[in-house]
Symmetry: D3
Protein backbone atom coordinates (compact mmCIF):
# COMPACT_ATOMS: atom_id res chain seq x y z
CA UNK A 1 0.00 0.00 0.00
CA UNK A 2 2.89 2.33 0.80
CA UNK A 3 5.11 3.16 -2.13
CA UNK A 4 8.37 1.23 -1.80
CA UNK A 5 11.39 3.21 -0.65
CA UNK A 6 14.82 2.43 -1.96
CA UNK A 7 17.91 1.94 0.09
CA UNK A 8 21.10 3.69 -1.06
CA UNK A 9 22.17 0.59 -3.00
CA UNK A 10 18.90 0.51 -4.90
CA UNK A 11 17.13 -2.37 -3.21
CA UNK A 12 13.49 -1.56 -2.68
CA UNK A 13 12.43 -1.71 0.96
CA UNK A 14 8.98 -1.42 2.41
CA UNK A 15 8.15 1.55 4.54
CA UNK A 16 7.03 -0.73 7.35
CA UNK A 17 10.55 -2.06 7.78
CA UNK A 18 12.07 1.37 8.34
CA UNK A 19 10.74 2.84 11.58
CA UNK A 20 13.63 3.67 13.87
CA UNK A 21 12.96 4.66 17.47
CA UNK A 22 15.49 7.03 19.01
CA UNK A 23 15.68 7.26 22.81
CA UNK A 24 17.88 9.95 24.35
CA UNK A 25 19.04 10.05 27.97
CA UNK A 26 20.19 13.51 29.00
CA UNK A 27 20.00 16.16 31.70
CA UNK A 28 17.04 18.61 31.52
CA UNK A 29 17.12 21.20 28.75
CA UNK A 30 14.84 23.96 27.43
CA UNK A 31 12.06 23.16 24.98
CA UNK A 32 13.68 25.32 22.33
CA UNK A 33 16.83 23.20 22.40
CA UNK A 34 14.88 19.96 22.31
CA UNK A 35 12.80 21.21 19.38
CA UNK A 36 15.98 21.90 17.43
CA UNK A 37 17.50 18.57 18.40
CA UNK A 38 14.49 16.48 17.39
CA UNK A 39 14.49 18.13 13.99
CA UNK A 40 18.21 17.62 13.46
CA UNK A 41 18.26 14.01 14.67
CA UNK A 42 15.34 13.19 12.37
CA UNK A 43 17.17 14.82 9.46
CA UNK A 44 20.18 12.63 10.28
CA UNK A 45 18.06 9.52 9.64
CA UNK A 46 16.48 10.94 6.51
CA UNK A 47 19.92 11.75 5.11
CA UNK A 48 21.75 8.60 6.20
CA UNK A 49 19.04 5.99 5.63
CA UNK A 50 16.94 7.70 2.92
CA UNK A 51 13.74 7.07 4.86
CA UNK A 52 10.81 9.47 5.23
CA UNK A 53 10.90 11.77 8.28
CA UNK A 54 7.47 10.49 9.34
CA UNK A 55 8.91 7.07 10.12
CA UNK A 56 11.32 8.42 12.76
CA UNK A 57 10.33 8.87 16.40
CA UNK A 58 12.53 10.61 18.97
CA UNK A 59 11.96 10.26 22.72
CA UNK A 60 13.96 12.35 25.20
CA UNK A 61 14.22 11.10 28.79
CA UNK A 62 15.43 13.92 30.99
CA UNK A 63 17.18 12.71 34.10
CA UNK A 64 17.86 15.14 37.01
CA UNK A 65 21.45 15.73 38.14
CA UNK A 66 21.00 13.66 41.29
CA UNK A 67 19.98 10.60 39.28
CA UNK A 68 22.89 10.05 36.96
CA UNK A 69 26.63 10.22 37.03
CA UNK A 70 29.94 9.17 35.54
CA UNK A 71 33.09 7.92 37.24
CA UNK A 72 31.06 6.88 40.27
CA UNK A 73 29.93 10.41 41.17
CA UNK A 74 26.48 11.95 40.81
CA UNK A 75 26.44 14.85 38.37
CA UNK A 76 24.78 16.89 41.15
CA UNK A 77 27.96 16.51 43.21
CA UNK A 78 30.39 17.64 40.51
CA UNK B 1 13.05 -25.14 43.81
CA UNK B 2 10.31 -23.52 41.77
CA UNK B 3 7.89 -25.91 40.16
CA UNK B 4 8.71 -26.20 36.46
CA UNK B 5 6.40 -24.38 34.06
CA UNK B 6 5.69 -25.78 30.65
CA UNK B 7 5.93 -23.98 27.37
CA UNK B 8 3.09 -24.35 24.87
CA UNK B 9 4.86 -27.23 23.15
CA UNK B 10 5.22 -29.11 26.41
CA UNK B 11 8.91 -28.56 27.18
CA UNK B 12 9.41 -27.87 30.85
CA UNK B 13 11.03 -24.53 31.55
CA UNK B 14 12.22 -23.12 34.81
CA UNK B 15 10.46 -20.10 36.22
CA UNK B 16 13.75 -18.27 36.37
CA UNK B 17 14.07 -18.27 32.61
CA UNK B 18 10.73 -16.57 32.06
CA UNK B 19 10.80 -13.08 33.52
CA UNK B 20 10.03 -10.56 30.78
CA UNK B 21 10.46 -6.86 31.46
CA UNK B 22 8.14 -4.55 29.55
CA UNK B 23 9.09 -0.89 29.20
CA UNK B 24 6.57 1.51 27.68
CA UNK B 25 7.34 4.98 26.37
CA UNK B 26 4.22 7.13 26.10
CA UNK B 27 2.75 10.54 26.82
CA UNK B 28 1.25 11.08 30.30
CA UNK B 29 -2.04 9.31 31.07
CA UNK B 30 -4.37 8.89 34.05
CA UNK B 31 -3.66 6.28 36.69
CA UNK B 32 -6.91 4.52 35.86
CA UNK B 33 -5.83 3.98 32.27
CA UNK B 34 -2.38 2.79 33.31
CA UNK B 35 -3.92 0.37 35.82
CA UNK B 36 -6.01 -1.15 33.06
CA UNK B 37 -3.07 -1.28 30.65
CA UNK B 38 -0.71 -3.01 33.08
CA UNK B 39 -3.31 -5.69 33.72
CA UNK B 40 -4.01 -6.25 30.03
CA UNK B 41 -0.35 -6.28 28.97
CA UNK B 42 0.43 -8.79 31.71
CA UNK B 43 -2.46 -10.96 30.56
CA UNK B 44 -1.03 -10.81 27.03
CA UNK B 45 2.15 -12.49 28.30
CA UNK B 46 0.27 -15.04 30.38
CA UNK B 47 -1.84 -15.99 27.36
CA UNK B 48 0.90 -15.94 24.71
CA UNK B 49 3.80 -17.42 26.69
CA UNK B 50 1.94 -19.46 29.33
CA UNK B 51 3.98 -17.95 32.12
CA UNK B 52 2.72 -16.89 35.55
CA UNK B 53 1.59 -13.27 35.86
CA UNK B 54 4.00 -12.77 38.77
CA UNK B 55 6.98 -13.11 36.44
CA UNK B 56 5.94 -10.11 34.31
CA UNK B 57 6.99 -6.55 35.17
CA UNK B 58 5.65 -3.50 33.35
CA UNK B 59 7.34 -0.08 33.57
CA UNK B 60 5.71 2.99 32.02
CA UNK B 61 7.94 5.96 31.23
CA UNK B 62 5.77 9.00 30.68
CA UNK B 63 7.40 11.61 28.49
CA UNK B 64 5.95 15.15 28.29
CA UNK B 65 4.83 16.51 24.91
CA UNK B 66 7.84 18.80 24.62
CA UNK B 67 10.23 15.86 24.94
CA UNK B 68 9.20 13.58 22.12
CA UNK B 69 8.09 13.82 18.56
CA UNK B 70 7.69 12.17 15.19
CA UNK B 71 8.53 13.44 11.71
CA UNK B 72 10.99 15.92 13.22
CA UNK B 73 8.37 17.88 15.16
CA UNK B 74 7.79 17.94 18.91
CA UNK B 75 4.36 16.60 19.87
CA UNK B 76 3.87 19.83 21.83
CA UNK B 77 4.02 21.76 18.55
CA UNK B 78 1.49 19.65 16.66
CA UNK C 1 -5.20 15.61 8.70
CA UNK C 2 -5.78 12.51 10.81
CA UNK C 3 -9.29 12.10 12.13
CA UNK C 4 -9.29 12.91 15.85
CA UNK C 5 -9.50 9.98 18.24
CA UNK C 6 -11.37 10.22 21.49
CA UNK C 7 -10.10 9.25 24.89
CA UNK C 8 -12.38 7.14 27.11
CA UNK C 9 -13.76 10.29 28.76
CA UNK C 10 -14.68 11.78 25.43
CA UNK C 11 -11.95 14.37 24.98
CA UNK C 12 -10.70 14.38 21.42
CA UNK C 13 -7.01 13.64 21.11
CA UNK C 14 -4.84 13.81 18.06
CA UNK C 15 -3.41 10.67 16.66
CA UNK C 16 0.08 12.11 16.88
CA UNK C 17 -0.10 12.24 20.66
CA UNK C 18 -0.86 8.56 21.02
CA UNK C 19 2.06 6.50 19.76
CA UNK C 20 3.31 4.21 22.52
CA UNK C 21 6.54 2.30 22.07
CA UNK C 22 6.76 -1.04 23.84
CA UNK C 23 10.19 -2.56 24.47
CA UNK C 24 10.38 -6.09 25.84
CA UNK C 25 13.46 -7.70 27.38
CA UNK C 26 13.22 -11.47 27.44
CA UNK C 27 15.07 -14.70 26.74
CA UNK C 28 14.91 -16.05 23.16
CA UNK C 29 11.59 -17.50 22.01
CA UNK C 30 10.12 -18.93 18.81
CA UNK C 31 8.73 -16.65 16.13
CA UNK C 32 5.28 -18.15 16.56
CA UNK C 33 5.19 -17.13 20.20
CA UNK C 34 6.45 -13.64 19.45
CA UNK C 35 3.85 -13.25 16.69
CA UNK C 36 1.12 -14.08 19.17
CA UNK C 37 2.58 -11.80 21.83
CA UNK C 38 2.90 -8.77 19.56
CA UNK C 39 -0.73 -9.13 18.56
CA UNK C 40 -1.95 -9.50 22.13
CA UNK C 41 0.16 -6.65 23.55
CA UNK C 42 -1.09 -4.37 20.77
CA UNK C 43 -4.66 -5.36 21.56
CA UNK C 44 -4.01 -4.49 25.20
CA UNK C 45 -3.27 -0.89 24.14
CA UNK C 46 -6.22 -0.71 21.79
CA UNK C 47 -8.55 -1.89 24.54
CA UNK C 48 -7.09 0.10 27.45
CA UNK C 49 -6.28 3.38 25.68
CA UNK C 50 -8.79 3.31 22.79
CA UNK C 51 -6.05 4.08 20.27
CA UNK C 52 -5.69 2.60 16.78
CA UNK C 53 -3.51 -0.51 16.54
CA UNK C 54 -1.36 1.21 13.91
CA UNK C 55 -0.03 3.65 16.50
CA UNK C 56 1.51 0.88 18.64
CA UNK C 57 5.01 -0.44 18.05
CA UNK C 58 6.42 -3.46 19.88
CA UNK C 59 10.15 -4.23 19.98
CA UNK C 60 11.44 -7.47 21.50
CA UNK C 61 15.06 -7.59 22.64
CA UNK C 62 16.07 -11.19 23.13
CA UNK C 63 18.90 -11.63 25.57
CA UNK C 64 20.79 -14.96 25.80
CA UNK C 65 20.86 -16.82 29.11
CA UNK C 66 24.47 -15.89 29.79
CA UNK C 67 23.66 -12.19 29.59
CA UNK C 68 20.96 -11.72 32.19
CA UNK C 69 20.13 -12.90 35.63
CA UNK C 70 18.26 -12.37 38.85
CA UNK C 71 19.46 -12.65 42.44
CA UNK C 72 23.04 -12.15 41.31
CA UNK C 73 23.17 -15.34 39.20
CA UNK C 74 23.21 -15.67 35.43
CA UNK C 75 20.16 -17.48 34.09
CA UNK C 76 22.58 -19.78 32.25
CA UNK C 77 23.87 -21.01 35.61
CA UNK C 78 20.48 -21.80 37.14
CA UNK D 1 40.57 22.34 28.85
CA UNK D 2 37.26 22.60 27.05
CA UNK D 3 35.80 26.02 26.74
CA UNK D 4 32.76 26.21 29.01
CA UNK D 5 29.42 25.86 27.26
CA UNK D 6 26.59 28.16 28.10
CA UNK D 7 22.99 27.20 28.60
CA UNK D 8 20.34 29.30 26.83
CA UNK D 9 20.05 31.57 29.87
CA UNK D 10 23.76 32.21 29.93
CA UNK D 11 24.85 30.02 32.81
CA UNK D 12 28.11 28.25 32.09
CA UNK D 13 27.81 24.49 32.26
CA UNK D 14 30.53 21.94 32.74
CA UNK D 15 31.30 19.17 30.32
CA UNK D 16 30.25 16.59 32.88
CA UNK D 17 26.65 17.75 32.73
CA UNK D 18 26.42 17.30 28.98
CA UNK D 19 26.84 13.64 28.09
CA UNK D 20 23.81 12.45 26.16
CA UNK D 21 23.33 8.77 25.43
CA UNK D 22 21.45 7.94 22.24
CA UNK D 23 19.90 4.49 21.88
CA UNK D 24 18.42 3.51 18.53
CA UNK D 25 16.09 0.59 17.91
CA UNK D 26 15.97 -0.41 14.25
CA UNK D 27 16.05 -3.32 11.84
CA UNK D 28 19.51 -4.56 10.74
CA UNK D 29 21.46 -2.33 8.36
CA UNK D 30 24.90 -2.29 6.73
CA UNK D 31 27.91 -0.99 8.60
CA UNK D 32 28.37 1.75 6.03
CA UNK D 33 24.91 3.14 6.75
CA UNK D 34 25.42 2.94 10.50
CA UNK D 35 28.77 4.71 10.20
CA UNK D 36 27.09 7.57 8.37
CA UNK D 37 24.20 7.68 10.83
CA UNK D 38 26.38 7.79 13.94
CA UNK D 39 28.30 10.71 12.48
CA UNK D 40 25.17 12.62 11.53
CA UNK D 41 23.35 12.02 14.81
CA UNK D 42 26.41 13.17 16.74
CA UNK D 43 26.59 16.30 14.60
CA UNK D 44 22.92 16.94 15.41
CA UNK D 45 23.84 17.17 19.12
CA UNK D 46 26.91 19.30 18.48
CA UNK D 47 24.84 21.74 16.43
CA UNK D 48 21.71 21.84 18.60
CA UNK D 49 23.29 21.72 22.07
CA UNK D 50 26.74 23.22 21.37
CA UNK D 51 28.46 20.35 23.14
CA UNK D 52 31.68 18.60 22.08
CA UNK D 53 31.24 15.54 19.86
CA UNK D 54 33.27 13.46 22.35
CA UNK D 55 30.48 13.73 24.91
CA UNK D 56 27.93 11.99 22.68
CA UNK D 57 27.51 8.22 22.59
CA UNK D 58 25.29 6.43 20.08
CA UNK D 59 24.18 2.80 20.56
CA UNK D 60 22.28 0.96 17.82
CA UNK D 61 20.22 -2.07 18.80
CA UNK D 62 19.36 -4.03 15.70
CA UNK D 63 16.24 -6.11 16.06
CA UNK D 64 15.42 -8.85 13.50
CA UNK D 65 12.16 -8.65 11.55
CA UNK D 66 10.56 -11.45 13.57
CA UNK D 67 11.08 -9.56 16.82
CA UNK D 68 9.31 -6.28 16.23
CA UNK D 69 6.19 -5.01 14.62
CA UNK D 70 3.60 -2.30 14.34
CA UNK D 71 -0.18 -2.53 14.23
CA UNK D 72 -0.03 -5.93 15.93
CA UNK D 73 1.86 -7.63 13.09
CA UNK D 74 5.48 -8.77 13.02
CA UNK D 75 7.53 -6.94 10.40
CA UNK D 76 8.60 -10.38 9.13
CA UNK D 77 4.98 -11.07 8.18
CA UNK D 78 4.40 -7.86 6.23
CA UNK E 1 2.59 -12.02 52.52
CA UNK E 2 6.23 -11.15 52.09
CA UNK E 3 8.00 -10.09 55.25
CA UNK E 4 8.45 -6.31 55.20
CA UNK E 5 11.93 -5.01 54.47
CA UNK E 6 13.25 -1.91 56.13
CA UNK E 7 14.86 1.02 54.40
CA UNK E 8 18.06 2.40 55.90
CA UNK E 9 16.06 4.94 57.93
CA UNK E 10 13.88 2.26 59.44
CA UNK E 11 10.67 2.70 57.47
CA UNK E 12 9.21 -0.63 56.52
CA UNK E 13 8.82 -1.07 52.79
CA UNK E 14 7.10 -3.84 50.95
CA UNK E 15 9.15 -6.15 48.81
CA UNK E 16 6.95 -5.36 45.84
CA UNK E 17 8.08 -1.75 45.83
CA UNK E 18 11.76 -2.62 45.58
CA UNK E 19 12.43 -4.40 42.30
CA UNK E 20 15.07 -2.52 40.34
CA UNK E 21 15.79 -3.47 36.75
CA UNK E 22 19.35 -2.89 35.56
CA UNK E 23 20.00 -2.69 31.82
CA UNK E 24 23.60 -2.54 30.62
CA UNK E 25 24.74 -1.54 27.14
CA UNK E 26 28.26 -2.73 26.38
CA UNK E 27 30.49 -4.38 23.81
CA UNK E 28 30.58 -8.20 23.82
CA UNK E 29 32.42 -9.88 26.71
CA UNK E 30 33.06 -13.39 27.94
CA UNK E 31 30.50 -15.23 30.05
CA UNK E 32 32.93 -15.41 32.95
CA UNK E 33 33.20 -11.63 33.08
CA UNK E 34 29.45 -11.18 32.83
CA UNK E 35 28.88 -13.72 35.61
CA UNK E 36 31.18 -11.74 37.87
CA UNK E 37 29.59 -8.44 36.90
CA UNK E 38 26.01 -9.57 37.51
CA UNK E 39 26.98 -10.74 40.98
CA UNK E 40 28.81 -7.53 41.84
CA UNK E 41 26.11 -5.21 40.48
CA UNK E 42 23.47 -7.11 42.44
CA UNK E 43 25.58 -6.81 45.58
CA UNK E 44 25.78 -3.05 44.96
CA UNK E 45 21.98 -2.85 45.24
CA UNK E 46 21.83 -5.10 48.27
CA UNK E 47 24.43 -2.97 50.04
CA UNK E 48 23.17 0.48 48.99
CA UNK E 49 19.42 -0.09 49.17
CA UNK E 50 19.20 -2.92 51.74
CA UNK E 51 16.96 -4.96 49.47
CA UNK E 52 17.07 -8.72 48.93
CA UNK E 53 19.24 -9.91 46.02
CA UNK E 54 16.24 -11.77 44.56
CA UNK E 55 14.52 -8.48 43.77
CA UNK E 56 17.32 -7.32 41.44
CA UNK E 57 17.40 -8.20 37.75
CA UNK E 58 20.36 -7.43 35.50
CA UNK E 59 20.08 -7.48 31.69
CA UNK E 60 23.18 -7.07 29.52
CA UNK E 61 22.70 -5.93 25.92
CA UNK E 62 25.87 -6.61 23.97
CA UNK E 63 26.29 -4.36 20.99
CA UNK E 64 28.89 -5.18 18.28
CA UNK E 65 31.64 -2.67 17.53
CA UNK E 66 30.04 -1.60 14.26
CA UNK E 67 26.83 -0.62 16.02
CA UNK E 68 27.96 1.91 18.58
CA UNK E 69 30.38 4.75 18.86
CA UNK E 70 31.43 7.92 20.61
CA UNK E 71 32.52 11.26 19.16
CA UNK E 72 30.76 10.44 15.90
CA UNK E 73 32.94 7.42 15.08
CA UNK E 74 32.00 3.75 15.18
CA UNK E 75 34.03 1.80 17.73
CA UNK E 76 34.88 -0.62 14.91
CA UNK E 77 36.73 2.20 13.14
CA UNK E 78 38.84 3.26 16.11
CA UNK F 1 46.42 8.72 22.89
CA UNK F 2 44.88 6.96 25.86
CA UNK F 3 47.10 4.43 27.54
CA UNK F 4 45.88 0.95 26.63
CA UNK F 5 44.00 -0.93 29.35
CA UNK F 6 44.37 -4.62 29.75
CA UNK F 7 41.58 -7.12 30.04
CA UNK F 8 41.81 -9.77 32.77
CA UNK F 9 43.44 -12.21 30.35
CA UNK F 10 46.11 -9.72 29.42
CA UNK F 11 44.93 -8.59 26.00
CA UNK F 12 45.33 -4.88 25.60
CA UNK F 13 42.09 -3.11 24.86
CA UNK F 14 41.50 0.46 23.90
CA UNK F 15 39.67 2.71 26.27
CA UNK F 16 37.16 3.56 23.57
CA UNK F 17 35.90 0.00 23.46
CA UNK F 18 35.07 -0.08 27.17
CA UNK F 19 32.34 2.41 27.93
CA UNK F 20 29.37 0.65 29.50
CA UNK F 21 26.11 2.50 30.01
CA UNK F 22 24.01 1.40 32.97
CA UNK F 23 20.31 2.28 33.03
CA UNK F 24 18.33 1.56 36.18
CA UNK F 25 14.55 1.50 36.44
CA UNK F 26 13.34 1.85 40.00
CA UNK F 27 10.87 3.60 42.28
CA UNK F 28 11.90 7.03 43.65
CA UNK F 29 14.63 7.08 46.31
CA UNK F 30 16.60 9.69 48.26
CA UNK F 31 19.66 11.34 46.74
CA UNK F 32 21.85 9.88 49.46
CA UNK F 33 20.88 6.34 48.49
CA UNK F 34 21.39 7.04 44.79
CA UNK F 35 24.80 8.56 45.49
CA UNK F 36 25.84 5.41 47.28
CA UNK F 37 24.40 3.18 44.56
CA UNK F 38 26.12 4.98 41.68
CA UNK F 39 29.44 4.61 43.45
CA UNK F 40 28.95 0.93 44.20
CA UNK F 41 27.67 0.03 40.73
CA UNK F 42 30.63 1.81 39.15
CA UNK F 43 32.99 -0.07 41.45
CA UNK F 44 31.33 -3.32 40.31
CA UNK F 45 32.43 -2.56 36.73
CA UNK F 46 35.92 -1.49 37.75
CA UNK F 47 36.38 -4.73 39.71
CA UNK F 48 34.74 -7.13 37.25
CA UNK F 49 35.94 -5.67 33.95
CA UNK F 50 39.16 -3.91 35.04
CA UNK F 51 38.12 -0.69 33.30
CA UNK F 52 38.61 2.86 34.59
CA UNK F 53 35.71 4.30 36.62
CA UNK F 54 35.56 7.28 34.24
CA UNK F 55 34.32 5.05 31.43
CA UNK F 56 31.19 4.00 33.33
CA UNK F 57 27.95 5.99 33.21
CA UNK F 58 24.96 5.24 35.41
CA UNK F 59 21.48 6.62 34.66
CA UNK F 60 18.61 6.13 37.13
CA UNK F 61 15.07 6.42 35.81
CA UNK F 62 12.72 6.83 38.73
CA UNK F 63 9.20 5.66 37.97
CA UNK F 64 6.30 6.59 40.29
CA UNK F 65 4.27 3.83 41.93
CA UNK F 66 1.29 4.39 39.65
CA UNK F 67 3.42 3.78 36.55
CA UNK F 68 4.85 0.35 37.13
CA UNK F 69 3.78 -2.97 38.48
CA UNK F 70 4.31 -6.69 38.65
CA UNK F 71 1.80 -9.54 38.39
CA UNK F 72 -0.60 -7.23 36.55
CA UNK F 73 -1.07 -4.83 39.47
CA UNK F 74 0.25 -1.28 39.83
CA UNK F 75 2.69 -0.92 42.72
CA UNK F 76 0.52 1.98 43.93
CA UNK F 77 -2.33 -0.47 44.50
CA UNK F 78 -0.34 -3.01 46.51
Amino acid sequence: MDPPNRTPNGTPTRRSSAMPIVTIQQGPRDTELKRDLVKRVTDAFVDAYKIPAETVQVWIHEVPADSWGAAGTLTADK
